[in-house]
Symmetry: C2
Subunit: 180 residues, 2 copies
């Protein structure tokens, strides 16, 4: 993204800077990965490092802002009674193909991410119950297994070249779907 000429001083610039940072981070997390240097995020946003760290004291804060939308979308999808466990997984995989960093965050051991992980886990658990009642999954599958499946997808996709992401994710999910 080009450095846009903008009012970059005073209170009114704060919100614009924050938004630019989130956008830049989303793009960099998608292309470079979750480990993208924060200095690169600031540069791409056309913003000083000082501003970046003022708005987001650490990587987790930034990631939370970037992916809040993803989680909210999953939540509203799950709120639909017609949504199945498979639908939920399909959406998660779409989001992951768009940016592997999303699963990185969900499976991260970082304390700050725990809240996000729990939100996603909760959605999965509810739909798992429903799927089990419908006989759509094997009887012995637990919520932990679903997290395991997500962890396996995330870890594998993380080392997949971007060009193959969609195809590999599709095949991996075909295989994993047989397992649960």
């Amino acid at each position: 993204m080009a450095h846009v000429r903008k009012a970059n001083r005073g209170p009114s610039a704060a919100a614009a800077n924050r938004a630019a940072l989130v956008t830049a981070a989303r793009e960099l997390f998608a292309t470079t990965g979750f480990d993208a240097p924060l200095s690169a995020v600031a540069r791409r946003a056309g913003v000083g490092q000082g501003s970046l760290y003022r708005h987001f004291p650490d990587r987790a804060s930034l990631a939370l802002a970037v992916f809040e939308g993803n989680v909210a979308e999953l939540e509203s999808l799950a709120a639909e009674p017609a949504t199945t466990l498979d639908d939920l997984f399909a959406r998660i995989i779409e989001q992951t193909v768009a940016s592997v960093a999303f699963l990185d965050m969900v499976t991260s051991a970082d304390e700050r991410m725990a809240a996000v992980r729990h939100r996603v886990t909760g959605l999965l658990a509810a739909k798992l119950d429903q799927a089990r009642r419908d006989g759509a999954v094997r009887a012995d599958v637990t919520t932990g297994d679903l997290l395991l499946v997500i962890g396996m997808l995330a870890g594998m996709l993380k080392r997949t070249p971007a060009t193959d992401l969609a195809a590999v994710a599709a095949r991996a999910w075909t295989l994993l779907r047989r397992a649960i």
Copy 2:
């Protein structure tokens, strides 16, 4: 490993230093992971960085030396006609639990590792043919799928705390076995 008092000068020390480096690297790769700093490897081996880089110009050379034993073991296991695809996977998983870095290497995109990956892939392909003839795996499973499965295991185990490794690996394999 304690720093052992040894003749550490002259030609005769070269072999000992090399062995110490491989041992130290094996231990560090197992505990710290494949990304362990090479300087830490040299320190643990009680050897200077100069010696490390003389024996192993880059991380790949060192990894090759460390895991050559693993690959050789798989090859001799696969040479047994009685060995099944499941046996091979079981051994790979054991090796991975001992050191996640092994799968890191097999699934690495690094050019230098390609030879190792091909050796392992060859073994899997042969046993896959056999398994398919025996009806032990689904008809549509390809060699690529096996690599996918290995990639999923590797990626997931990489972010599993060492204490849970064995249990998580076992459950993950139970799930994945259903998929192939």
